[in-house]
Every structure is written in C-alpha cells, then in structure tokens.
Symmetry: C2
Subunit: 369 residues, 2 copies
Amino acid sequence: MTRESQGSRAPYGPGQSYESGQPYASDGNRAAVRRPASIKDVAAAAGVSPTTVSHVLSGNRPVNELTATRVRSVVNRLGYVPASLARSLQAGSTSVIGLMIPDISNTFFAELAKGAEDAAHDLGYGLILCNTEFDADREDRYLGMIRSRFIDGMVYASGSPPSRRRLEALMGKFPIALADEEVEGLEGALIATADHEAGGRLVGEHLRALGHRQALVLTGPRALKSGIARANGFVQAFRGEVVERVGDFKEASGYRLVAELLKEGGLPEGCTAVFAANDLMAFGALLALREAGLSVPDDVSVVGFDDIRAASLAHPPLTTVHQPAYDVGRTATAQLLQYVTRGEVPPASRHTLPVELKVRGSTAPATTR
Amino acid sequence: MTRESQGSRAPYGPGQSYESGQPYASDGNRAAVRRPASIKDVAAAAGVSPTTVSHVLSGNRPVNELTATRVRSVVNRLGYVPASLARSLQAGSTSVIGLMIPDISNTFFAELAKGAEDAAHDLGYGLILCNTEFDADREDRYLGMIRSRFIDGMVYASGSPPSRRRLEALMGKFPIALADEEVEGLEGALIATADHEAGGRLVGEHLRALGHRQALVLTGPRALKSGIARANGFVQAFRGEVVERVGDFKEASGYRLVAELLKEGGLPEGCTAVFAANDLMAFGALLALREAGLSVPDDVSVVGFDDIRAASLAHPPLTTVHQPAYDVGRTATAQLLQYVTRGEVPPASRHTLPVELKVRGSTAPATTR
DNA sequence: TTGTAGGCGTTATCAC
DNA sequence: GTGATAACGCCTACAA
C-alpha cells in the first residue's frame, strides 16, 4: 500500500489546515504534495455522513442549521475543497472547453482568445489553450481531448486545411464552434465571423471616393474563405481595374509581391492604390514601396485589414478595416456554451459581426502619375 | 433511472461507431450527445474483462496476441476512447496546468503564453488560460482550480499586488512558478525572468557611448520589481544626470509625463535622451516630443523596453531592449513541470534569461542644445 | 432531517 | 495470461 489508509479513520483526516500554517514547506521545499482532505474526512470529523456534507455544501437539500454549522467549521479547519475531478466524472462534464488557434502571438488571435476566455469565465468554464502552429498533428492531439471527454466543447479558429478530415468526424457529434474562419465542407456548424466582405466593400468605396481607379489587391491564400470574401467585396465596390496577387497573410509575402511588381517595371499603369488582405501584408507592401522611393500616401495609397495594434503606430498610420476579434471570440464561445451547458450539439447557425473602416494616414486622394 | 442501463448488457454497448457514420446528426442537429462506449462495453463485446482491455491499451502487462487483436478491433468498432477524467481521478493528477496572466492581448504576455503552451504540450500537458484583467476576484477564482485539484500546477505571471495573500497560502504547498515578475515576499519560489537590470545597463551604456549625459527615465509602477530593476541598471551604467518620473507602463502615461515636463518649460537643461521602462510608454513619449516640435533622434534620443512588434514598425523604429518573453514562459513552465511530473512542489530557484539591445532609428549621438 | 448504497470509468492489487 | 475486486472522490436515488 503506497499511502496510509488513514483517510477515513483518523478523525481529522490529513490534519493540518490548508488555509493557515506556514507558507513554505519545512523540509527544504522538496515536499511531496500531501493527500488533501476528502469528503469522507470531513464527514468523519463532523460526525455525519458524506451525504450530509455534500448537501451542506451544495444546498441541494435542507440540512439542520446546527449540523450545517458544525460541518462548515470542519470544512474550514481541514481546508476541504471538493475535488472537481470526481465531481466531473459523476456529472459527465468538466466545465472546460478548448480554444484552437494557430498562433496566440498574433494579436488578432490573442484578442479573439481574450473574448473567448471572457465568455468562458462568465459561465464558470475553463479554457484550454490549443495553439497549433499550423501543425496538423498537434491539432489532432488536441481534438483528442474532446473524444476523451476531457473538454466539453471546442472553439475552433485554426483554419489550416489539413485539419478538415478530423473535424468532420467530430462535427455534429461533439460541440464545436467555428470562429473567424469558415471551413469549407463544414457548413453545418455554428460559426461566428467578421463581415469580411463588407470590410472589402468599405475599402473599395473609400478608395473609389478618393478618386482611385486602378488598384493592386494582395489576397490571402486561396484556401481561406475570409481572404476571398475581402477581395470580392472590394472588387464589387471599387468598380475599377484590379490586379490580384496571392499572398499568405505574412509580412514577407506583402513585401515580395510588391517588390516583384516594381522590379518588373513598376506598378501597373495608373495604379495608385494597394489593398492588402491583412495588415501584416500591408506593412510589407509599405516597406517595398518606400524602398522603391515611392511615397505613401502621396504616390500610392495603402489599405490593410484587421487593425492590429501596430497599424496605428506605423508610419504613416495605416488605413485599415477594424475586425472585432474580441467579439468574434466572445460570440463563438458564448454561443457554443449555450448548447454545451444543456448537453446539446449546436445546430448550424451564423453570426456575422460588423467591421469598421479606420481611415488613417496611408490613404489620400489619387494623383495622376 | 435517467439512462438505460444497457451499458454492460448490450453486446455492442452504445453501438454505433464514432469514427464512421454520417458526419451530421440526423435529427436536425439538436442531438443530445450520446453516451460513449466505456471500457466495460468494450470488454463485454470482446468477451474479456475490463482489466484486459486496459492492459491491451496501456501495454502495462503482456496480453495474448490473439486476444489483443480482438480487443483492438472492438475498440475501433465502438470508437472507444478512454475517459481521461476517470484516469485522472485514479491517478490523482490531471496533466493540466494553469497560466495566469493579466492580459493575453498584450503581445508580451501572448509570447509568454506561447512559450508556456509549447513547454506544456511537449510533456503532454494541457494549459488553461487564466486571463485576470488585473481583477483579484477573477484571479482568486482561478487559483481555486488548484485547490480543487483540477490542475496540477500554475504558472503565475500576473504581478498585480492584491493577489499576494492568496498566493502566499499556496506557495510551498502547491506547484507554482513565477514568470517574468517577482512577487515581493515570495522569494521561496521558482522563478523565471528576463535580466531586467542588465537590460537597463545596456541602455545606459548605449546612451553614454553616444555622448548623452543627461536623461529622463520613465519608470513603471513602484510595486513592480522589474521596472525598478530596469531603472537601476540604467542609472548605474549611464553615470550621468538622471531625472525620474513614475508611470504605469501604459502609452498614455508616457505621453503625459513628457508632455507635462515640456509644458513646464521643456526637458531639463541639457537632457538629450529618454529611457522609458517599456515600449508603450516610449511610444507615448515619442508622440509628446513630436507634438512639441522636437525631432527624434536629432534633438532627443528615445529608448524603450520589451521589443514588442510595433517597435520596429514605428517611426522612427524604436531602439529598445528585446525581452525573451517566449523563453520566460517556456522556462517557467518547463521548470515547473519538472517537479509536477514527480508530484513535488518546486524549490526556490531562479532562472535569469538574457536580454538584447536592439539599436534602431530612435537613438543618435547627442547634440548640444 | 439524515444515512446507505450504487455508480461515474479507470487502473492497481491480488489471486488464479 | 487473465480476471475479480477495491479504490480514486463525489453525487444522488432511495430508504428510514
């Protein structure tokens, strides 16, 4: 026997209070963690049954006031805290959900995570951070937590194509909500996303109003619907000539795409504006233009998407579309939990959140070049 | 009885595989989650005891190859996945730890979180995101997860003073590691932090080498040791005249402190440099200086601390001290887990990580004014 | 008002 | 090589 079975025999259980006492272990800090008091210990010390202790704490049935007081005092003395694990096992749910995102150090996802965490915390749920780094194996491992019933649901904002197969198997059986990015083939899902297309339209209208008639559009990867939607909205509202180049949402790709064009003889004839599918790519474009001796916004206007923190700090401050990352995370999570708390799998539903154009210093009226 | 007790009687348990079958529930998506197969279901269907199933899966003891194959096939057919909850209950640990931080949308903490998540994932641990928003109640609620034994340990990077009391009670009894910020009175802890003082020294040397002899130092709140250390290191290495102003690590405070000085008759006589205790305050200072018609770096040099993403994008690009936020998170977590996995409370120990001066466009040789 | 007993799903112990 | 049993710690239906 590895542990003494003192538990239910010793009147005070493991004895010492966990609330008072010395802050540090006395044996040089290498203390093994001691066995904490269980409900049985409390019951024994209070001279009642575990049932009564349970009811005193949960209030699920009336208990004699005297008995209750006695129990509570023992609870304090022993520093008893119910083991949530055991409770979860018996309840069949853990009050924990997962949040799958590709990169927490990206401010967009960090904001989204904040919203998700807030929503989860509001309902007393814990949130497990599943940062995938776009790694499908890692994602699979995290999805496994749902199948092993360690988490009650998952907010999924990863969007890397490899994951689809695994997700499909879960969708409709386990509670999952998609955040920010739709996943093709998973239309039967609960999804919260910003209005990417409207954002594109806002940019198109803005540039058109400034007199621009030809623009370069730097899109995200073809596989991601959000990027497509942004470009579509733009093209629709801009009603001018558009040259598209496909990037990957990273700063380097914005730089490369623009630099290549400039090397090949400059921007297309009459092109006075660049719309990048996100801020990072816009920064890359900014850099490439500056290096080529072009002035922003005097020669070329540049617009981004996302409104990350650096956008307003950059030089010139970037005109961009503000995406409600926090709200996306919060909405997806709140919606998901609405079903999770009832033990249901969420039905297909769509929550589209409004975006906002932030006009800053990187756009100006078109000048003929 | 709420659920049919079909479990151990029906030969196929809950029947249907969780791997195959239609991806969506057929009843309009409002499906309640079904009871998944348990080890008993598998055992019954394979004609063996739960013990054997357990051993087939864990490899903890040899099993007849034929039996094992049969069991594995049933496992697949029923889509059985062991309930990690039950396993945790019996093992006495959950393989989950918490990460307490004030604000995940701050890139510094996001990076730290990434490091923590990586370290946790490496050892098969889950990480619960505890975002406190500097709210002591919220922090308390999260600390409760440790007392209810839902998590095996906590990486603590919050640093808001109100939390100390609660933390003290836990320290030395439960596995906690401090990240980034020391907490006064909790010296007996495991702590990983950047070398704030060395960072300050690097800045001091840099400015001195550029010929600066008088500087304005914008510190963080007095309660936070990291900010103090930065300022101390600076003063020590700069060996010139220093005027200190106390801020709160926010952009607005950097702006306000500098603007006030300028209004009161300009920077102190001969002062040609500003060292802000973090990048955000440096940005505020930058803005105030620009508004006053002073040029950075021609009239005044400005240095920050942290090297957040916006630092290199700002105009001028900010000279700053790069803090290894990722490594801080990763180290704290890895160290913590080293003890957690052995069921021990970590001893006091200190891990100081190197910082690096990033010289950019916001500093230049001093000019006499 | 309170207690007894069974079960949540797993693994360790002991016995065959 | 395999199985029965107990235990992890809690909750709750049922009984008194």
